[in-house]
């Protein structure tokens, strides 16, 4: 074993030590070769491409070769871009070789600030340009990524400012844990958490407010980044990439590089955008039948769960009806302004930027105000040392309204059409209610009341920064240190007015909280580089990473307001006040070694080994080793550089990739190993064990990740094609599962369970037309992912997420054989032959409280098509079309509209019908079951609508084609610009977002999330209940550079 180890270490060292001295020759063309940093380059191969004679530069970078004028000379050196030069009639030929690292298109940032040559990469790593993101003018830049990258899914939780977006790469691998990728900005991880409402304190009365990540949305914090500051986004989904970031990157990583100052004359840029948003998709609400039951008028007809019911007679002919929904949504106006200053010289540069966003929502009292200040600077301390640093300060203020069941959107749908919802306040300031009752809790809030009186708000202050120090003490040694800070504090409240449906029982309820987050991390890395025998370049790096993340949530609640309208915890009755503190700290240590062997720019082999320590595995009582190991191996092979394949007219570039990696993942929650005692508020107080049983036996979960693929460029590189196939197998899944109470707890983090994700991702890029005055670029992204639960932890029958239980019995639940995106719901009873069983007394199907799978929310495939047309270099039109095929969406809104008789699908209620099935009369399983013959006219029997539909009937297989964004921009021609001295560059643009959608979905918007992004597993995406659709928006603006 030791021998093998020794060999393992000796091998790269050997390669490093060996080095071939260059032999110089003298002929008639000569010159020196320098690298882009000005240093002379020994050992560069100089080839006369005509005669095929070659030589090498000497220690001073000097060469001399036989050549005649007009011959072409080639200069090659590993790690540098090949240069070709036509020999002039006379004079020296001095060449500057550009490091492949510095050639923008060939370089990609992967690990903590590590730049890699794209040729080396053995995995698909698509990139998105910052300007493409910024031009969509989205508040939350994640929404701009949709469709631009294969294998990326973004689900927004609503169309309001500050709404959170859930992002998943490849597929959900974890049944209950976090499936969102890690965000790394300039080598430093940044927090993307939303607030988990479970840290808040519910109201004392069960009829009042409870918190389960449903009734309010909290921005996912990565949205704090101003899209204008982004230079480039790299999406790392592959195995090796996840191995780079350990536990954190097990669901992929999104690596963001921010804009840096460019050397040269000081530049000032300013741009702005003014946006109008409008809701254009509305539910189809019937306007024929009035409130009532079984055809009889009753203005009090009501469902305690969903609101007014419309099973009465037709409205009288002269009844004035109000389009409450149209009236309710407003066209909103938003604006943003961005200013940046940059300057620099060869040694130093800096950039300062300021962004201001004022985004107003289509619902009254919603909005997001955000101010972003950022400064970044970099300088060379001396010949061998560089330092760069950037700091951002973000102020964000988000006004919100309640969300989900029982709030304005659902109440708007069930609000009586013959009453104008705009009159929501009585003359004495109390809430106007329709039902004849004094109990405010028996009627849902008027939608206007809800958004005007039940306010909530979050204010965030965030400071993030990094310092990046790099030194090259030796030619072959680089030392890098990165220190990162991410610090924010959010202060928020959620309130229900004393006259509101949910505030009545408690006479007003306010929940306030302060969330503080602090992450400090540091990285130290040594990289050894050596090229030997001119063809082998070796890179060995060893790194040490340490991180400490602390989160604290100070929550308070109070009830019984003294002043109905005053918003403060001080306005509540002291005995109703309660406080709760939730803190957690997670520390991580990672040691990793990475070795890359490149052969002649053609073949690269990459190996990495990581040992990670994570405090969530540590215990104060049990002897736990909080460390675990994983690693990767990969190969990238640029076969088109082989002799014979080189300079092929059709295939210009071809690379094959193969990689395999394992990655470990510690428990995502802290404090689950040792017993957890929770404070008690019962008589006598004290402590008792938490609902989560401790589990000292918890192990890290492991993901085995295999990817194979290739990149191909055809026809003078005008067409490129990138394909990846992957298998991702996660075993020992850590799941917080409910269990038999015989365990002594209700839930427990347990290991076990295997989830497999398989998929294919393709990116096609083409310069379809390349003419002098017209360019057409097109990018097509395609992905398909299947996730399958192969085994459940401890062979438990199922896992479900109770937060997703927002409508009826529908919930996110997985079991063996299902996808992680599986939904279940109640079904109807059937006989052995599978026929529907019908009650002989009601003529309606019989429900069983057994859950059946109602579908998988994972799409069959997704496609993004990005087109960019440029006319006369000045006029550009680009748009992003997003296509999704298949995958179910549960249309909870429609289910509610059927149950309440507001859906247009209930208009045929006068039509008699017999439900197809057999009667449950004892003969149902005999050879001759009795066919149902009970005729129902729903108009007279509205129990039909309660009983005739199972939840699965509202699971729709959804396809869509949506115009995510479209931009038309016009740059003022240079000749005009040159006439004046103020502008250097100026352009105007119009951008439309979510302009239209073609879909078979019967609801408003299938791209919805019933919860907020902090729910784990598949979360609430694909459950459409109570979230408003994305409005369409039009932006106008200018961009100018001074």
């Amino acid at each position: 074993m030791r021998k093998i180890l020794r060999l393992f270490f000796a091998f790269p060292l050997l390669l490093l030590v060996l080095s071939m001295p260059a032999i110089a020759q003298e002929r008639n063309v000569s010159g020196t070769v320098v690298s882009d940093d000005g240093s002379s380059m020994p050992g560069v191969t100089v080839t006369n491409l005509k005669t095929n004679t070659r030589t090498k530069t000497n220690d001073a970078g000097y060469y001399s070769i036989n050549a005649s004028a007009g011959d072409q000379l080639g200069f090659t050196f590993v790690g540098f871009v090949e240069q070709k030069f036509i020999v002039p009639a006379s004079g020296l030929v001095n060449i500057k070789l550009v490091s492949a690292e510095n050639e923008l298109d060939n370089v990609i940032v992967t690990g903590y600030g590590v730049k890699r040559n794209k040729r080396e990469l053995a995995y698909q790593a698509p990139t998105v340009k910052g300007e493409d993101i910024a031009q969509t003018r989205r508040d939350n830049f994640l929404n701009a990524l949709a469709g631009r990258v294969p294998g990326l899914t973004v689900t927004s939780s609503s169309g309001l400012p500050g709404a959170s977006a859930q992002i998943v790469l490849r597929g959900a691998t974890s049944m209950s844990g976090n499936n969102q990728p890690l965000f790394v900005v300039d080598g430093v991880p940044l927090d993307n958490n939303g607030l988990n409402q479970e840290s808040l304190i519910a109201a004392s009365n069960t009829n009042a407010v409870g918190f389960a990540n449903r009734n309010s949305d909290y921005t996912n914090r990565i949205a704090d980044i101003n899209p204008e500051d982004i230079e480039e986004v790299v999406i790392l989904k592959g195995p090796e990439a996840t191995a780079l970031y350990g536990s954190d990157g097990a669901s992929g990583a999104i690596v963001i590089t921010t804009r840096k100052g460019v050397s040269g004359k000081a530049r000032v840029s300013y741009d702005n955008a003014f946006r109008m948003d409008q809701v254009y998709r509305f539910p189809n609400i019937q306007t024929r039948f009035a409130r009532g039951t079984n055809g009889i008028y009753n203005p009090e007809a009501y469902s305690a769960t969903y609101g007014f019911r419309y099973f009465g007679p037709e409205y009288a002919e002269n009844t004035q009806l109000f389009d409450n929904i149209q009236n309710f949504f407003q066209n909103s106006f938003s604006q943003q302004h961005n200013l940046s200053l940059e300057a620099g010289n060869a040694e130093s540069s800096y950039r300062f930027s300021a962004g201001y966003l004022d985004s107003r929502g289509v619902v009254a009292n919603t909005g997001l105000n955000r101010l972003t200040l950022r400064i970044s600077a970099q300088t060379k301390l001396n010949k061998n040392m560089k330092i760069s640093s950037s700091w951002s300060y973000i102020l964000s203020d988000n006004d919100k309204v309640p969300k989900g069941a029982g709030t304005y959107y659902n109440n708007l749908i069930t609000y009586p059409k013959d009453i104008d919802a705009r009159n929501f306040v009585n003359s004495n300031g109390t809430r106007k209610i329709i039902k004849n009752t004094v109990d405010f809790a028996t009627e849902f809030d008027n939608p206007y009341w809800d958004v005007n009186r039940n306010s909530s708000n979050d204010k965030t202050n965030r400071l993030t920064g990094n310092v990046n120090f790099s030194a090259d003490p030796l030619k072959w040694l680089n030392l890098t240190t990165i220190i990162g800070i991410d610090n924010y504090s959010t202060e928020g409240y959620y309130l229900t007015h004393p006259d509101s449906r949910y505030g009545f029982a408690t006479k007003g309820f306010i929940s306030t909280y302060v969330q503080n987050y602090q992450n400090l991390n540091g990285l130290a890395r040594a990289t050894f580089k050596k090229t030997i025998a001119e063809k082998f370049n070796n890179t060995l790096s060893a790194s040490f990473y340490v991180e400490s993340g602390k989160r604290s949530i100070y929550a308070q609640k109070g009830e019984q307001f003294y002043e109905k309208e005053f918003i403060s915890i001080n306005n509540t009755q002291p005995l109703t006040q309660a406080a709760k503190l939730t803190r957690s700290e997670i520390r991580k240590i990672r040691m990793f070694a990475n070795y890359t062997l490149g052969y002649n720019n053609i073949l690269y082999l990459n190996f990495s080994a990581i040992r990670e320590g994570n405090s969530t595995l540590a215990s104060a009582y049990f002897d736990k080793v909080p460390f675990f190991n994983y690693g990767s191996a990969s190969a990238s092979f640029v076969f088109t550089d082989l002799k014979g394949l080189k300079d092929n007219k059709v295939l210009n570039y071809g690379k094959l990739r193969l990689s395999y990696a394992t990655s470990g993942k510690a428990p995502y929650a802290s404090y689950v190993i040792d017993p957890q005692f929770a404070p008690q508020v019962t008589t006598g107080g004290g402590y008792a064990l938490n609902v989560f049983s401790s589990n000292p036996d918890l192990r890290p979960e492991t993901t085995r990740n295999f990817e194979v693929g290739g990149e191909f460029q055809f026809l003078k590189k005008r067409l490129s094609f990138d394909i990846a196939y992957y298998i991702l197998n996660t075993k020992d899944q850590i799941v917080s599962n409910r269990l038999s109470y015989g365990t002594g707890g209700v839930l427990k983090f347990i290991n076990g369970g295997v989830v497999e994700n398989k998929g294919i991702e393709i990116q096609l890029k083409a310069l379809a037309v390349q003419k002098k005055n017209f360019n057409w670029d097109v990018t097509v992204n395609f992905d398909k992912n299947r996730s399958t639960v192969k085994k459940m932890p401890a062979d438990l029958p199922l896992y479900y997420d109770s937060d997703t239980w927002v409508f009826g019995a529908v919930r996110s639940e997985v079991s063996v054989g299902t996808s992680v995106g599986n939904l279940v719901g109640f079904a109807f009873r059937r006989n052995d032959a599978g026929q529907l069983l019908i009650s002989p007394t009601t003529g309606l199907p019989l429900n069983t409280p057994t859950y059946v799978n109602i579908g998988d929310r994972t799409p069959d495939f997704k496609m993004g098509i990005i087109n960019s047309f440029t006319f006369f270099e000045n006029l550009n039109l680009s748009f992003n079309i997003d296509i999704r095929k298949g995958g179910i969406v549960f249309n909870g809104n429609e289910a509610m509209m059927i149950l309440t008789g507001t859906s247009t699908k209930t208009l045929d209620r006068l039509q008699p019908r017999v439900i197809d099935g057999v009667l449950l009369d004892g003969l149902e399983n005999s050879a001759t079951p009795t066919k149902n013959n009970i005729t129902i006219v729903p108009y007279y029997r509205n129990d039909y609508y309660d009983g005739a539909f199972a939840e699965g009937d509202f699971a729709e297989e959804v396809n869509w084609l949506r115009m995510r964004d479209i931009t038309l921009s016009y740059r003022l021609p240079q000749k005009w610009v040159k006439r004046q001295k103020v502008f250097r560059n100026a352009s105007v643009f119009v951008t439309g977002t979510d302009l239209f959608m073609i879909t078979n979905y019967s609801g408003m918007d299938p791209n919805v999330n019933a919860l907020n992004s902090s729910t784990g597993g598949f979360g609430g995406s694909g459950i459409d209940y109570g979230a408003i659709p994305n409005p369409r928006g039009i932006n106008f603006g200018i961009k100018a550079q001074f």
Partner: protein, 557 residues
């Protein structure tokens, strides 16, 4: 070989680095809650966890035993009709408390106490453990017992009632040993024990009371029943109402107020049954209700309607699944109109006389509102002296020792008067439960002299059981249900040829799944067992829709 020293150095360096890394990572302890709290911090939560299961589940069980029933006219209520709610955790709270609420917490206190030499906590926790398991098997029948709390186990085998009763017996004996042992130690139980304030002798009495009940479960088991043991442990148990195991409430917020109080407002749709009204107004015990036969306890326990003209002072009750015929008359009516007259005849709500709605929901401003045990700050009794006396009376009666039986019977009745009259101020400042003023000695004596109370010669098992029913009404739901099931609800008293539970009637129809059988047990908690331990349930029919009508082991001969 010359590299050996380098490797050793390297290894030494790494192991040092690793151990300091491990230290750096060793912060996985919640800073906001202690992970090894003292027993005195955990014990209070155990005490307040005891009434929760019964109070929550009595929303259903009280209907089975007809303490309280559904109010609405023609309600056809599932539980009134001995049914259950499939796919729901309703009626699963005793289960929750036994395994989760107290469960491992008691194990923690016991282990911790043994380590630290706190035998008082160990003993008291064993008593509570015995109590919880006994309640759970009385309620569900077969339950998880031997495998409960087993580490690394996700599916649990159930044990039979016999195994659980024997197990409870062992736990009680162990508890007694620790309580005895504590005499030689410094006692700290008083810090956490807000019921008995650390009085070991009272804990011992409670432990004997559990043993008495345990022996008493075997009345129908020929060859296993031993009346002398029952009597012995009854005598060792509570000596007066001051020994009663009653859990107090602080009533400062939702979670520390009684589940039955006005603040928490959980009994809005419940009404007193006709069965209890007839017991207290003399109908069932004397054959008629006259002023002389009306029990003086009636005005303290039950609620009178506004209309007092029904002959017993306005006390009305409801029958199962039928409810109050006038329940819908909630409006304001012209004085003297038919609706006005009928509205005044509605059955009173448990929280007071002459009222039909909660006078103080979600409001502590009047902590004295409510009636009897249905107050925010009224204690929840768990085992009482009175109960012990009736158990003793039954045992002695079965043995043929009618003298002892009669003495215990009278002590039981007197004990319940004392229970009502007791000043609970000494128990963490809890409210009194009598209505206005305590029952006077004169009215007690006149009751004892009335036809309701029998002489030794006249004493029948019926009298013992019915007086016990009265004494346990409103809190001893589970013991009452055990009694009713032991007597198969409708068993006849050989002495009278009439039902022991005079005037007890089943609902006109049972819940459909019952297949015309009365309820005998409650299904285990849905979200614990029907989802996560279903295979085991199937072994003994627990998955059957009529499993709740399977007769209990203890009531079978």
């Amino acid at each position: 070989m010359k590299h050996t020293y380098k490797i050793v150095l390297l290894a030494a360096f790494f192991s040092m680095a690793m151990s300091s890394c491990k230290k750096y990572l060793n912060i996985n302890s919640d800073p906001d809650t202690p992970q090894n709290p003292s027993n005195s911090s955990v014990f209070p939560a155990m005490l307040s966890g005891i009434p929760r299961g019964v109070q929550y589940d009595a929303r259903y069980m009280s209907k089975y035993v007809q303490n309280l029933l559904s109010s609405a006219n023609g309600n056809n209520d599932t539980w009134d009709r001995h049914g259950y709610l499939a796919g729901s955790d309703a009626s699963g709270d005793i289960w929750r408390q036994t395994y989760f609420g107290l469960g491992n917490n008691l194990n923690y206190i016991i282990d911790n106490g043994i380590q630290k030499g706190q035998s008082d906590y160990v003993g008291a926790s064993l008593v509570l453990k015995a109590l919880m398991f006994q309640m759970t098997t009385d309620y569900h029948g077969d339950i998880i017992f031997r495998e409960a709390f087993k580490e690394n186990t996700y599916y649990f085998k159930y044990d039979s009632q016999l195994v659980v009763y024997q197990g409870v017996d062992s736990i009680c004996r162990l508890a007694d040993a620790y309580l005895t042992k504590s005499a030689s130690e410094t006692l700290t139980l008083g810090i956490g024990d807000f019921v008995y304030n650390g009085d070991i002798s009272k804990w011992k009495k409670l432990n004997y009371a559990i043993l008495a009940k345990n022996f008493h479960r075997f009345t129908n088991k020929a060859g296993m029943y031993n009346a002398d043991s029952v009597i012995k442990y009854c005598d060792l148990a509570m000596g007066s109402v001051n020994d009663d195991f009653v859990i107090p409430f602080d009533a400062t917020k939702n979670d520390d107020a009684s589940f039955y109080g006005t603040y928490r407002n959980n009994l809005t749709s419940f009404r007193q049954s006709n069965f209890i009204v007839k017991l207290l107004d003399g109908t069932s015990l004397t054959g008629s209700s006259t002023p002389a036969t009306i029990d003086p306890r009636i005005s303290h326990m039950l609620s009178a309607s506004q209309d007092l003209t029904n002959g017993n002072g306005g006390y009305r009750g409801v029958d199962p699944a039928i409810g109050d015929p006038f329940s819908a008359l909630t409006g304001v009516y012209t004085v003297g109109s038919a609706n006005w007259i009928n509205a005044r005849k509605r059955v009173g709500i448990v929280w007071g006389d002459s009222i039909y709605a909660n006078p103080s929901a979600a409001n502590f401003s009047a902590t004295t509102t409510g009636k009897y045990l249905f107050k925010d700050k009224a204690v929840m009794p768990v085992i009482s002296y009175t109960e012990m006396q009736f158990i003793k009376a039954e045992a002695a009666f079965r043995k043929g020792d009618f003298g002892t039986a009669h003495t215990a019977y009278l002590a039981g009745i007197n004990g319940h008067f004392d229970f009502i009259n007791r000043n609970y101020g000494a128990v963490r400042g809890n409210s009194t439960i009598f209505n206005g003023s305590p029952i006077s000695t004169a009215s007690r004596n006149s009751y004892l002299a009335s036809a309701n109370v029998r002489s030794q010669a006249q004493l029948r098992i019926t009298d013992i059981m019915l007086q016990k029913y009265i004494a346990l009404w409103g809190w001893g739901f589970l013991e009452t249900w055990v009694d009713l099931r032991r007597f198969h609800y409708l068993d006849l008293d050989p002495a009278t040829g009439q039902q022991v539970y005079v005037n007890f009637a089943f609902p006109t129809s049972f819940f459909p799944n019952n297949l015309n059988k009365p309820v005998q047990r409650v299904r285990p908690r849905f979200n614990s067992e029907y989802i996560w331990n279903l295979e085991e349930l199937k072994r003994f029919g627990g998955d059957q829709t009529d499993y709740h009508t399977y007769e209990m082991w203890f009531s079978k001969p």
